[in-house]
Amino acid sequence: MSSIWFLNGLRKGIKTERYPSADPAAAPQWPSRLSGSDAGNCPVDAITSDGWIIEKCIFCRRCLPDYQPTGEQDIFTVKKAETAFRKSFHVFPLDSGACGSCNMEFLSIFSPQYDANRLGIFMVNTPRHADAIVIMGVMTPGMKEALDRAYEAMPEPRLVIALGACAVTGGIVGDAPLDREKYHVEIAGCPPSPYTVLAALNAARGGINSHTDSGWRSEEVR
């Protein structure tokens, strides 16, 4: 391999998949949308007589075989999209008390397979430059002030996004950082896969995740 990195990079070719215009190439089973009924063995009460509560689920597989994973990655809810961010969407991640896996999955959307930058989605180093704050983890006392100050520092309009079961409902670990009515976007999963995170951020700025009806499957680049 040449140490001339520019040529080296060109030689490797394009590694980015077409998601979210096409179906995910390597969607994980856990977590993904579950399908089923009648399971009673849920450690976080995500399965009730009314069905499956997506935001509480930690995808621990105890509901097998009554519930089965479908591989569908659309396990998020957008309550409010902000189309002002359609062309460029700058997000600031904040770890309020995460185990590290949500942090890694968030970071993974910038790896070549997903390349969130190509969609105009960028990570910023300060909330002052952010259109949205992405909160990961449960609430911990030491991070409360940092969370409040980060939110106050953001310019308007702004979105608040909860990433992962801990941030949305507290998951199995503790309490959620904010009341759920304060979230504009809720991304379920423990942790949500990069496919889910990317589609949720795209939807939050009014983008279209056309993979759901495109029938166009990406190839996994190896």
Binding site: S3, P28, Q29, T140, G142, R222
Partner: protein, 389 residues
């Protein structure tokens, strides 16, 4: 306890739990104190606060750097700003495992396996060697991914975008291998007390592919004098209690896999990667070589591994401990089980000693060295900022 005993401090110090100090074969109630060093700024010096929530940090952690402008004279690290409280006591081992896996999600396999082995030690549960091979595959795959992430992050402050992205690509490929193997990208719910459930279909070719691509990137990185200059003599540390890659980079032959009696590392002829440069370059080098070595071990272990189901622990009693080599060093678990429920649980994370080593190695460095040095230790805050209730 078959492998540990309570006693006076003896041997290599590995870290502190909430109640105990942990050594190679001894758990001691006599706590090894690690007093925080304070620093008073001299005239003209200032304290630069960095964190807890800002760019460049993967997790929430706060630094205070004392400096006259460029040189960092002293650094304080507060890893406890995001301390979580997990309710583990009173749970069955099965339910407790759901919590343990989420102590450090990126090293979930290490935490899960160490906890399971401590429970098995407590309850005299024998696990077949073929199943221990499956655990070895889990641990080494996790090590590959973790080391890839560290090497990637070391490239980042150098502005080395091409190798950084090529390694990010490999790291994601390993996450997908893990997902195929265990059903989950972070090994959550892949193993259990007495058991392990993984599928090795098509794994061999993919692991071989990652190994080959990383070898090419690593060889090319070693040719870049500018990159190496940013790492060499940055963050020298060769004395004191060092663990994991930081210890091995400074020439110490320390690795929990050498002491391991149940997971069959010895049968695979395991030999730790030892180097003699106790700086960020040495840590980068050791971690890179360990990626290659772990891939080789996995390929061999795939011939021998089997799965097994969970063991019922209802109504059982006992006290046990286990230590494994997580990607950043010795990870220790102690459990006491009464009537099938967790009565006490103690964990010692390698992050404690690695943060101490990082802090000491920073004195005299300049600001632009900080990022390389911090990332070269591969420290995970979540594993330290946790209290098990």
């Amino acid at each position: 306890m078959r492998y540990y005993r309570f006693g006076n401090p003896q041997g290599r110090f590995l870290g502190n739990t909430e109640k105990y100090s942990v050594y190679e074969k001894v758990i001691s109630e006599q706590k090894h104190e690690m007093p925080a060093e304070t620093y008073q700024n001299l005239p003209g010096e200032l304290t630069f606060a960095y964190g807890p929530a800002t760019g460049g940090l993967m997790e929430s952690v706060a630094f205070n750097m004392h400096t006259p402008g460029e040189v960092i004279k002293h650094i304080e690290v507060d890893p406890y700003v995001k301390t979580r409280r997990l309710k583990v006591k009173g749970l069955t081992p099965r339910d407790a495992l759901l919590m343990v896996e989420r102590i450090n999600g990126f090293h979930a396999a290490s935490n899960a396996v160490a906890f399971e082995m401590a429970v098995e030690d407590a309850l005299d549960i024998d696990v077949p060697e073929e199943v221990q091979y499956s655990r070895l595959i889990m641990l080494e795959l996790e090590r590959i991914r973790s080391n890839l992430e560290v090497v990637k992050r070391v490239c980042e402050p150098a502005g080395f975008g091409v190798p950084q992205n090529q390694i990010a690509y490999l790291r994601e490929n390993v996450a997908r291998i893990i997902s195929r193997l265990s059903g989950h990208r972070y090994f959550f719910s892949a193993s259990s007390v007495g058991g392990c459930q993984i599928s090795k279909s098509g794994i061999e070719t993919r692991i071989g592919g990652v190994r080959k691509e990383f070898q090419e990137i690593f060889d090319a990185l070693l040719q870049s004098k500018i990159f190496l200059n940013r790492l060499q003599n940055n963050g020298n540390i060769s004395e004191g209690s060092l663990l994991g890659p930081a210890a091995r980079a400074s020439g110490m032959k320390v690795d929990a896999r050498l002491d391991e009696k149940l997971i069959p590392y010895r049968k695979l002829g395991f030999r730790p990667v030892i180097f003699d440069e106790p700086d960020a370059f040495g840590r980068f080098y050791v971690r890179s070589q360990e990626i290659l070595a772990s891939a080789d071990m996995i390929l061999e272990a795939l011939d021998n591994n089997e799965n097994s189901t969970e063991v019922d622990t209802a109504g059982m009693n006992g006290e046990g401990a286990a230590r494994i080599e997580s990607p950043q060093g010795d990870l220790f678990y102690y459990v006491k089980i009464s009537d099938g429920r967790i009565d006490d649980i103690q964990m010692s994370s390698p992050s404690l000693l690695n943060i101490d080593a990082f802090r000491k190695s920073m004195a005299g460095n300049i600001f632009t060295d900080y990022h390389f040095n911090w990332e070269s230790f591969g420290i995970w805050i979540s594993e330290l900022a946790v209290v098990m209730q």
